[in-house]
């Protein structure tokens, strides 16, 4: 189980969701992905995308202008 990071700053939704989706496809169940965004809309969209597609959001936080979402990849 590994941890990965994704920089999705300075792009607007739904691009951070698309980038997350395309990255998650390459990962294994149980892996963690930390996504950093600047569009606050990602705070709604990435968790919604995770709920629909069977992944788990472990943590969301705001740091300055960044929104950081940590998710665990679910079973395919």
């Amino acid at each position: 189980m590994s941890q990965y990071e994704l920089d999705a700053r300075r792009i607007l939704c739904p691009m951070p969701v698309i980038r997350t989706q395309n990255r998650v496809v390459e990962l294994q169940p149980g892996d963690t992905l930390i996504v950093t965004c600047t569009d606050p809309g990602a705070l709604n969209d990435i968790p919604a995308w995770c709920r629909i597609n069977g992944h788990t959001v472990i943590k969301t936080e705001r740091r300055d202008d960044d929104v950081i979402i940590t998710l665990e990849v679910g079973a395919a």
Binding site: L12, C13, P14, I18, T38, D45, A48
Partner: protein, 347 residues
């Protein structure tokens, strides 16, 4: 009996929500697909404009998928979509919306997707006669044919008004339980939504994208007219959604931030464009988009920039212009008087 699998084009509107639900009710396995062309009406402007940030910023396609309990695949088609917008075989609608070609393109992409993922057919929320351009009854078979989907394309909300498709003939779905909606009357959809218990669904005023918007389309045309080629990047079409666009000369235009959220968003483009703001008074951030921008042009832009800041009535204001490479020019200008900003400069 094997459970059949359909992919549903989910736009985020009510029709695709209902069409998907009708299929789920028949025991079909459905997954959603949503294409991002760069022009989609989604959270962008909310994300950019500070005063809209209190509003809920949900992505309606994701919201629909969650209501339905289906997966949603969002596909970036920005590059491929350029050809649809630049060379639509069937032309444009009231504005720059190439709806018929757009539908054909999306259904073709869905066809590729079902082949790659071993799905059986495609569904859409289209209703005959609902939109003048792409949902005319005579065009529906054309779209099915030109997309290559042919009778793998089922429109559950109006299927009874159309010839039988393969999923109906094969008994994968029960035609008698499909619908016969037609025309612009939205009442049947609203009644069905109530029956299924859907509330709070999105009701976009125009179409599903910015290309149906007159002002937005004008900005796209202006961009094309003032560039050597009509090609565009995602950044170009994003910036058309932001700020006031003012073109005082053929070779450049100003993008003037209208409020804090827009200024902040535009900050991210300072390495790509000349940016200007007034240092002696609070005011907007301005980007200059163009070519061969001279010092005189920058000064002219400085005067216009000053007009939109709090120094508009001062005799002179201090201006700072930053070039994409980081070089900084500072100068003083007299704010341009209001009457000197010609109405035709506004794009």
């Amino acid at each position: 009996m094997t459970q059949r699998k359909a992919v549903s084009l989910i736009s985020g509107g009510l029709d695709s929500l209902l069409a998907t639900k009708v299929m789920l009710e028949q025991g079909v396995h459905v997954e959603g697909i949503n294409f991002f062309t760069g022009f989609c009406v989604e959270g962008h402007t909310h994300a950019i404009r500070k005063r809209d940030q209190q509003k809920e910023k949900r992505n309606n396609a994701l919201w629909c998928a969650e209501q339905l309990g289906v997966k949603l695949h969002i596909i970036d088609v920005i590059e491929e979509y350029k050809d649809v917008l630049l060379n639509p075989k069937h032309g444009y609608g009231a504005n720059l919306n190439p709806c018929q070609d757009c539908k054909t393109f999306m259904i073709h992409k869905a066809l590729e997707w079902i082949k790659a993922h071993d799905f059986d057919f495609i569904i859409t929320g289209e209703v005959v006669g609902q939109r003048p351009m792409s949902q005319r009854k005579d065009l529906m078979p054309v779209i099915a044919r030109e997309s290559g989907a042919n009778d793998l394309l089922l429109r559950p909300l109006c299927a009874k008004n159309l010839p039988e498709t393969l999923p109906e003939r094969e008994g994968w779905v029960d035609r008698s339980r499909l619908l016969d909606f037609s025309g612009r009357n939205r009442k049947p959809q609203m009644a069905l939504a109530a029956q299924y218990g859907f509330t709070d669904y999105a009701t976009p005023a125009g179409g599903c994208c910015f290309l149906t918007d007159e002002n937005y389309s004008k900005k796209v045309v202006d961009m094309w007219q003032h560039r050597p080629s009509r090609d565009y990047e995602l950044d170009d079409i994003m910036l058309l959604k932001v700020g006031r666009h003012i073109r005082p000369k053929d070779n450049f235009k100003l993008i003037v931030g209208r409020e804090e959220g827009e200024n902040k968003f535009m900050e991210g483009y300072r390495k790509q464009f000349i940016s200007i703001y007034t240092t002696s008074h609070p005011g907007p951030l301005v980007l200059l988009d163009g070519r061969d921008i001279s010092d005189a042009d920058i000064e002219l832009a400085g005067r216009i920039t000053a007009r939109f800041g709090q120094g508009r009535d001062a005799e002179t204001v201090d201006v700072e212009a930053r070039l994409p490479g980081g070089e900084i020019k500072t100068f003083q200008v007299a704010p341009m008087p209001p009457h000197a900003i010609k109405p035709e400069w506004y794009v």
